[in-house]
């Protein structure tokens, strides 16, 4: 579980070019969108594509997206629950 969260943090930093951050700077339970890192709606879409490409999990509505991207932990949970085994 923590491995997936760590992996996601690495991918988030890479995808969003948050190059001044390290994975440990991101709290798994902290608010991801609209939080301290300036992640906004376009970044969320960038992450949607990262998740679809990397894990085969589709997130296709804003309503689902808001829940899924609430935090790194929520995102990891959604991926685990929906990933094709």
């Amino acid at each position: 579980m923590e491995n997936l969260e760590h992996e996601l943090k690495v991918k988030i930093i890479e995808t969003l070019d948050l190059s001044d951050l390290k994975p440990e700077d991101i709290d798994s339970e902290a608010r991801l969108v609209g939080g301290e890192f300036g992640i906004d709606s376009i970044d969320v879409l960038e992450l949607v594509i990262m998740v679809e490409q990397g894990y085969g999990v589709t997130i296709d509505s804003k309503e689902v997206g808001e829940k899924v991207f609430a935090s790194v932990r929520a995102l990891a949970g959604h991926i685990r629950a929906n990933r094709a085994s």
């Binding site: 948050l18 001044d20 594509i49």
Partner: protein, 772 residues
């Protein structure tokens, strides 16, 4: 200025078919012309609904009044842009011919465009084609150039690229050209074809409704991307309340027309064939977010209010609103809030016609202006097709079925990425309307009046970037007689900018934000408008988006890169950084992009002493620059310049005195000497001539320059600046910043206490004056 502007011809190529009658029939019958994509392959998500122009229009182009055989060109617009004439160009020409109706050529063409030849270029790029000749119609500005050439227009062909408001912004510029006496007849509109860049781009943004757009519906779920072209032929007429023309206006049109003899044209009476009157138009920028509208619709409200003020109308006088109404959750909500704020409870009937014909991006503003004229002419309210259950945010129930109603005044909205907003007001002919010039003895309302009445723009501060560095390094190198051409490392470009804010930006926005930041800091005052010229737009974002898209077999690409690939994304960022909520116009037309941005500023800057930021920049891209820019053969170079300008006040003055399509060298040279006021004025006012001759037009440009110097007997310094500053489209801006610096310096050997004339000697010729 009491010149009124009339619509005297219209053309439309839309998913309803080729021609205005097809559009009218679709609207009156309430048809929905949306269907799953067939023009090119979709991806594994399936073909989503789009608005494709049906396949029979090509014949209309080729069998129109002018044949398109004879130039060895393939049939235009094959599906997916397979022919050698890109689909957008062909659609634009078909609509232009319909609007002109075989009549005389216009003095100028002003078009909105976002993708230009991309429908063809993306096919060529995917196939790995590397012959630059295949990309000769890639540039967004080539659509207007192509149309101007084919309809015989020798005046300027101007292109604005403000995303989905482009068509309406083009109408605003065309209207101001006529009002200011620069032209009498202007063909204005917009065109965009469906292409992979936009279809998959909006798809990656999750903005496409898989069921087809349902504007204003409580359950709406996105837009439907469409294609098309809309054209309006505008003509100036005499106001019934004043003298025909302002004096001292400086025409930029072609030879032998308005003002070329130094005298303003005599405006005719209301043209007999007038279909409607273009009463006013207003522009604004959200300065809020690259792709999302301001949640309360603040920018939309400002654009509508400005358009009504320009028309001299109160909100209560509007009979119908043609909404932007794309069908996305956020856009429709923001527009509803803006309308509630402006019109209060109740308000006029309204509808979005995008449920019928989709959203044709840069064409939409022009197509919807055509729809507005149809509503005026035929006395009906066009329906909001696709609506089941109204979103309660809209207090007025949208028009559900076409119905007859007296319509005398229509407000039409167009809003775009970058927070670019435009609203236009059209009125029925014969309605007695008090225009902006008609109150108090012809004084224009300052809220809407252009600065032309205040004289040339004054430069408060400037910045530039070249291969040598920022302004200080560049000017020092020039003073020492060294070339500054090259590509400045990115970390030097952005040395003054906060790193975190740049994470989503590639080279062009970085260059532009650095230029704007330096100029605005030096100017020491806030700016309201932002005007940007860029020949090729954000090449890195465009390349990356297509590369990822094709690399994933159309499955994935970056939404960030799509939003950033739009030409006006950069000016939108400048507006966000500097809270600039005034007009925000990106002009793109190859080597005269800066000149066109300057013209846009001269035409639309408010005459209230406020400052605007005038910018031009291009990025060198190792793969795309050599394919697109025929002058980028002598090694890569890029950069640009930024100026803070005001209407009136102190400081060096800049103004565009001439812009026309190049003809033979003798005529061009004679025209430029005349535009500069003749040999005597040239000797008196100018210490130096800066000549910009693009490498691809070296021979022709040199011939024009030699004749210009011979005809004028000019004996001052002549600087052939492109080999020194670099071969890139917007380099004229750097030359302008250099000239501003020279004329501000009393000991300048180049200016010798006088001004500097900048000549652009490429496919278009231009004269830009920098005066102390």
């Amino acid at each position: 200025m009491p010149v009124r502007v009339f619509v005297v011809g219209m053309g439309a190529v839309t998913p309803a078919g080729c021609g205005v009658p097809a559009l009218l029939e679709t609207l009156q019958a309430g048809r929905r012309r949306l269907q799953p994509l067939t023009l090119f392959e979709a991806n594994s998500k399936g073909a989503m609904p789009v608005g494709e122009v049906p396949g029979d229009w090509c014949g209309t182009v080729c069998r129109g009044p002018v044949s398109c055989d004879g130039e060895g060109e393939d049939l235009p617009g094959a599906p997916g842009g397979g022919g050698s004439i890109p689909r957008t160009h062909a659609m634009a020409l078909a609509a232009a011919r319909e609007a002109l109706g075989g009549g005389e050529a216009p003095d100028a063409v002003v078009l909105g465009g976002t993708t230009g030849g991309m429908g063809l270029s993306e096919v060529l790029l995917r196939a790995g084609k590397e012959d630059p000749g295949l990309f000769r119609l890639h540039g967004t500005g080539t659509v207007a150039d192509y149309v101007a050439q084919r309809v015989g227009c020798t005046g300027p062909a101007i292109t604005v690229s403000t995303a989905c408001s482009s068509g309406a912004v083009a109408l605003k510029l065309a209207m101001e050209m006529i009002r200011s006496g620069r032209a009498r007849r202007v063909l204005a509109g917009g065109a965009d074809c469906l292409c992979r860049l936009t279809y998959f781009g909006f798809s990656m943004l999750q903005l496409i409704d898989p069921e087809g757009t349902r504007p204003l519906d409580r359950n709406r779920n996105g837009m439907t991307v469409a294609e098309g072209a809309g054209m309006l032929l505008l003509e100036g007429g005499l106001s019934d309340c004043g003298s025909p023309m302002a004096e001292g206006s400086s025409p930029v049109g072609g030879r032998g027309q308005a003002g070329s003899g130094g005298e303003p044209f005599a405006a005719s009476d209301v043209p007999a064939c007038a279909l409607a009157e273009l009463l006013g138009a207003g522009l604004s920028c959200d300065a809020h977010h690259p792709s999302a509208p301001h949640p309360e619709g603040a920018g939309a409200l400002a654009a509508m209010s400005s358009a009504l003020a320009d028309a001299g109308l109160a909100a209560a006088q509007v009979d119908y609103i043609n909404l932007h109404g794309t069908g996305t959750r956020d856009n429709d909500a923001a527009e509803a809030r803006a309308i509630a704020a402006l019109f209060g409870p109740g308000g006029p009937p309204l509808s979005s016609t995008k449920g019928a014909v989709g959203h044709s991006l840069a064409a939409a503003g022009a197509v919807e202006a055509v729809v507005s004229v149809l509503a005026l002419r035929h006395g009906f309210l066009p329906p909001n097709v696709g609506l089941a259950e109204r979103d309660p945010l809209f207090e007025v129930d949208p028009v559900r079925r076409a119905r007859a109603a007296p319509v005398a005044r229509v407000l039409s909205n167009s809003f775009g990425f970058g927070g670019n907003n435009a609203s236009v007001v059209l009125g029925a002919c014969g309605e007695h309307v008090v225009g902006p010039g008609c109150d108090k003895g012809g004084a224009r309302a300052t809220a809407a009046g252009s600065v032309d009445a205040c004289g040339p723009l004054r430069v408060v501060a400037s910045s530039c970037i070249t291969g040598a560095g920022h302004a200080d390094e560049t000017l020092a190198a020039l003073e020492a007689g060294r070339s500054v051409a090259g590509v400045l490392p990115e970390e030097v470009v952005t040395r003054e900018l906060p790193a975190r804010s740049l994470r989503r930006m590639k080279r062009l926005p970085r260059l532009t934000l650095a230029l704007a930041d330096a100029a605005i800091k030096a100017g020491g005052r806030p700016v309201s408008g932002v005007y940007l010229g860029t020949g090729w737009g954000p090449l890195s974002e465009t390349w990356e988006f297509l590369d990822k898209l094709f690399g994933s077999n159309l499955e994935f690409s970056s939404p960030t890169d799509f939003v950033g690939s739009v030409h006006n994304a950069v000016a939108g960022q400048v507006a966000i950084w500097h809270k600039a909520t005034g007009p925000n116009i990106t002009a793109t037309s190859g080597d005269v992009s800066f000149e066109q941005a300057l013209l846009a500023a001269q035409l639309t800057m408010p005459c209230d002493g406020s400052a605007s930021c005038l910018l031009a920049a291009d990025e060198a891209h190792a793969r795309l620059s050599p394919l697109f820019d025929p002058s980028a053969t002598a090694g890569l170079a890029d950069g640009g310049a930024g100026l803070v300008v005001t209407g009136g006040g102190k400081g060096p003055g800049i103004g565009l005195t001439r812009l026309a399509r190049a003809s033979d060298p003798a005529s061009c040279a004679a025209d430029l000497v005349e535009a500069a006021g003749g040999p005597e004025r040239i000797a008196t006012r100018f210490g130096a001539v800066f000549a910009g001759i693009p490498a691809a037009r070296r021979e022709q440009g040199k011939a024009i320059l030699d004749r210009f110097l011979a005809n004028s007997g000019f004996s001052g310094a002549v600087v052939d600046y492109r080999p020194i500053l670099g071969e890139f489209a917007s380099v004229c801006a750097v030359a302008c910043a250099w000239a501003v610096n020279e004329v501000s310096n009393p000991s300048s050997r180049l200016a010798s206490g006088k001004g500097i004339a900048l000549l652009g000697l490429g496919e278009s010729v231009s004269l830009l004056e920098v005066l102390p």
